[in-house]
Chain length 303, copies 2
Amino acid sequence: MNDPDWNLYRTFLGVLESGSLSGAARALGLTQPTVGRHVDELEQALGHVLFTRSQQGLMPTELALSLRPYAQSLASTAAALRRQATGALNEIEGTVRISSSDVIGVEVLPPILAALQSEHTKLGIELSLSDAVEDLLRREADIAVRMTQPKQESLVVRHVGEIELGLHAHAGYLARHGRPVSFAELSTHCIIGYDRRTAFIRAMIGEIRKQAPDFPDPEQPCWSFRADSNLAQLAAIRAGVGIGFCQTRLAARDPHLVRLFPDFRLTLPTFVAMHEDLKTTPRYRRTFDALVTGLQDYIATRR
Amino acid sequence: MNDPDWNLYRTFLGVLESGSLSGAARALGLTQPTVGRHVDELEQALGHVLFTRSQQGLMPTELALSLRPYAQSLASTAAALRRQATGALNEIEGTVRISSSDVIGVEVLPPILAALQSEHTKLGIELSLSDAVEDLLRREADIAVRMTQPKQESLVVRHVGEIELGLHAHAGYLARHGRPVSFAELSTHCIIGYDRRTAFIRAMIGEIRKQAPDFPDPEQPCWSFRADSNLAQLAAIRAGVGIGFCQTRLAARDPHLVRLFPDFRLTLPTFVAMHEDLKTTPRYRRTFDALVTGLQDYIATRR
DNA sequence: TCCGGATCATTCATTTTTGAATATCATCCA
DNA sequence: TGGATGATATTCAAAAATGAATGATCCGGA
């Protein structure tokens, strides 16, 4: 039993992601008969049915679904290889892929990266917004900005400081609804919070209750605007939907945002991490350093 | 610029590993012209030279070497995918790849795995002897037996106990050289030890000096037989080369091995770990459980 | 009910990829 | 020095993969 053609894995992943032969063909720049043949061939090679065919698309079997993470890993590694192969090895050129949380990626990194790119015009940046800690090991990104300390041995990790979060609201919202002076009063306000309860969120809520025992319970109806994305929460605060947490440095940039209970704060430790392998290659090294100093500047900025 | 054919990566890796087009062709079941064309094609697609051709083989460029880990990751992921695809998903059949240290793999696991396989005749086992902690994330193995606690979030880890190491020698050796009764006396004996100094070894030597301050310094000439492989050390002890550390449970199996300084011991915490993704698939689950109970039995066995 | 739009399957000519054979060069050893 | 060996490069016919075209089927909306 020979190793099947590695391309079969690529088209397999395409079919899995698009849900149909024709869709995968469009996405991969092939034709539908070719994609169909690839699937047949892979099924033959593996000795199992991967999809149940129907005229409105293909239904992946349980086995096919279980193979998906492997195929994705192949795809991201192949992409990482190509990134590494772009540009000369010892120059600061080619592409670097960065993963960060959404707010940091949208609000904080662009100026840092813009400065870096204006210095190194041949440097390409890919920015992927995600919080998955495993990204770096799966080579889905070269460098990651994270709020939890990565613990893998093979990573270079740098702690850049603590990002401060505080309760904020738009001045217009406060004009309409009044400014709360006690945490208990918050129960008459609209609080912007999380949709799902992850371990991280639960820990954060615990921290809140420690500092502010009167803080309204997340079950109460005043937590009325919920979004998983911190970015959506930030937009909601800016739009005057209600009161929510956001980074104090970010809020300080917007003259209409008012900080409530200035002594009440949460802090997020912030790290920049990359694969150890990459530290000898100038473009990764330079980008890593730029992120570290850029984030340190961001954190250290006083109003 | 399109994604190059993923097969090119496979032949690229083959060329890197064999050092020549013809060698890679033999290894991959292709012909030399095909391999050569694949390399050309990949170079064209990446826009860089990967090998400097010569008539006695190919010299990889620095860039090619830097791409090697990516290509290896592709290969091991492809292999893991195929492993996952062998056998029916919900039966205990197909292949499971286990990584363990050499001594455990050679001396302890075989009976455990043999019992497992006699119960599940369609289950295939691959055993890879290696200590690299990252194996599981790179999918080079499905399950690992390790002496340090893996800390990755996405792993299922089980502590199975502490393996005890003690100083041992063959009865014949002691008959020839006498039996030492104090640690200081060891300096007139042949001590079997490590070749290189890793962080782990240094920690172990520190632990030794704590319990036995008189223990000869590794720099002294009495540490005369050195091997990186614990297996080679064990073989040396069994062959009567000198005095060395080995697992007390293993030594107890051989009536000719004598334990010296029975109160003097080192312990190695032992863990079984696997990817979280795999725990719902019966064959991995079953193998994991068999390893856990098998190792617990091994550790708990009294002479 | 019928038709447009989507799917997968099949066929066949075309393109691409492959391998066998061969040429050429370097190295090692008697 | 000459010959065996092992390497890459080149050539050309055979084999394999591909895509365009077509057919068949299902779904949903007018």
